[in-house]
């Protein structure tokens, strides 16, 4: 999901998250990101933070992302309002469950991708919690305000911080603070009490690992982060590691791998459009998406594993064995867990099958690469049991 580092204009003040002072105290290198002054990395460095998250638990500040509630008189009313704007099956969302979806334009292009969770509390029926990308939050919320029907309203919650604790030890860390954290299945939501703070937790994230996203009042965020970092399993991780982790997990980044020129079908996100929504339509871009689902798309977002360590970055052309350009890299870099260069690229369908030998062109030189099935690193989500 997240977004492009932004270049601040003279006079623009970068927004600070409630954890800004903590980042400085931890020695973070800060950088501008979607108008926010965010930790790119801590002294350990991106590779160490990445690997620690895969083996233990990384704590990320993602408070720059947009958080809001949709409030309506009943779940059905709120769900129908959201369904009018995106292909999610919100009606079928059970209490305490979370789903992934995209806001689409009339031509099926992806305006943003986001998470939506239904409150588990019976007395909060009609409340959906949204988390959208930082770079798109202003546009997303404007779209919602303009299009929501009477009776359903948008409540932005800029006063809340969002922390992500990600990695195989995340559950151990949280369960010591609130045992209820342990049993939450992947893509579920519930309230937890962590270090004295009431937290809206979801079991999800952007790393491919088991983990949680924790929405908390700004005034409680610093104490919560310090309590989490007091656990020996948890260490801070910055946006640099977040990007390399999500790339290895094959998770698209809006503004790179998905944008207004790509539909969910060619982006490999058709799984997020349920049966009922496919059949009924009724969301922006439904005609195009339905047509694309029936055809096979002309190009597809694929994983590329390069033979060596040299990264091919966003914008690099992808060539077939005969030298013809057949695609373009949309995200690329070095995967610390893969221990090699990896990329996401749109490639003509004829060249998109796993095993296809291609090359990424970097500074005029073809780097041999192979199409591989995504993700690069297997997802390790918690599906229950143990």
């Amino acid at each position: 999901m997240t977004d492009e580092p932004t270049i601040p204009q003279p006079g623009d003040a970068l927004a600070r998250t409630p954890l800004h002072a903590l980042h400085r105290a931890l020695g973070a290198r800060m950088g501008a990101f979607a108008g926010h002054d965010m930790p790119i990395q801590y002294p350990a460095g991106i590779v160490a933070e990445h690997l620690w998250t895969r083996q233990s638990a990384g704590l990320f500040d993602v408070s720059h992302m947009g958080q809001a509630f949709l409030l309506g008189p009943s779940h059905e009313a709120t769900a129908r309002a959201l369904e009018a704007l995106c292909p999610v099956d919100a009606l079928g969302l059970a209490p305490g469950r979370q789903r992934y979806s995209q806001f689409l334009a009339e031509d099926g292009g992806i305006l943003d991708d986001f998470m939506v969770a239904r409150s588990p509390e019976p007395d909060e029926d009609g409340l959906l919690a949204l988390v959208v990308n930082a770079a798109n939050k202003v546009a997303d919320f404007a779209l919602l305000r303009a299009r929501l029907p009477a009776g359903v309203s948008l409540l932005e919650t800029p006063g809340r911080a969002l922390l992500a604790l990600q990695g195989p030890k995340a559950a151990d860390v949280l369960a010591r603070l609130d045992p209820a954290a342990a049993d939450m299945p992947f893509m579920s939501a519930r309230a937890l009490t962590l270090a004295g703070a009431r937290v809206n937790a979801t079991r999800s994230g952007y790393t491919g690992e088991d983990g949680y996203e924790l929405s908390v009042a700004a005034g409680r965020a610093d104490a919560l982060a310090r309590a989490l970092l007091a656990a020996p399993e948890a260490k801070p991780a910055g946006l640099g590691a977040r990007d390399s982790l999500r790339l290895e997990a094959g998770l698209p980044l809006h503004g790179h791998d998905i944008d207004a020129t790509t539909t969910p079908v060619e982006a490999g996100l058709a799984w997020s459009i349920g049966k009922r929504r496919r059949a009924e339509g009724g969301y922006p871009g439904a005609e195009v998406v339905t047509r694309r689902l029936a055809e096979s798309p002309a190009r597809r977002l694929v994983g590329l594993k390069l033979d060596g360590r040299q990264p091919a970055r966003d914008g690099a052309e992808v060539a077939a064995a005969d030298g013809k350009t057949v695609g373009r890299v949309t995200s690329g870099g070095f995967g610390p867990s893969v221990d090699g260069a990896i990329a996401l690229a749109y490639v003509e369908a004829a060249h998109a099958a796993p095993g296809e030998a291609l090359a990424a062109i970097v500074r005029g030189k073809p780097l041999p690469a192979r199409v591989v099935a995504l993700p690069f690193v297997p997802h390790r989500y918690f599906r229950g049991g143990k």
């Binding site: 990395q41 991106i46 640099g240 990007d243 970055r313 070095f334 260069a341």
Partner: protein
């Protein structure tokens, strides 16, 4: 003093009749973990101020501009397997290339250690 520094954060050290080029500690710190180094071929002539190598960190690619003109006589082959040597020891085992200088005056015109330290304070 036989080590000089450029405003682009490269260092040049004179060893006999050769100049050894690398990037400074400041440069490696701002790049972060280095995962790949694209090295020039031995025998390549490089003009001062042009690209001599490319250092890739997890986040981005960054050109190394040669502060001096000359002909490449050796590159640090060990960086192929262990590019992080640049992070660990930028002024030593993380050297990038050795050149035969074509104009010693270019070297003399670079910053000495004190001048580079003062320059860093302005950043």
């Amino acid at each position: 003093m036989t080590v000089r520094y450029s405003r682009d954060h490269e260092w040049v050290r004179i060893e006999g009749d050769l100049a050894v080029v690398g990037i400074t500690d400041y440069a490696q710190k701002s790049l972060g973990d280095i995962v790949f180094v694209e090295l020039p071929a031995a025998g390549k002539a490089i003009e001062a101020g042009t690209e001599a190598a490319v250092v890739e960190s997890v986040k981005a690619a960054s050109e190394v501009f040669s502060p001096v003109s000359g002909v490449v006589v050796a590159v640090n082959e060990a960086l192929a397997a262990e590019p992080a040597k640049i992070n660990d020891d930028p002024a030593g085992a993380g050297w990038i290339l050795k050149m035969k200088l074509s104009d010693r005056a270019q070297f003399d015109a670079l910053m000495d250690e004190a001048a580079y330290a003062a320059f860093l304070k302005t950043l």
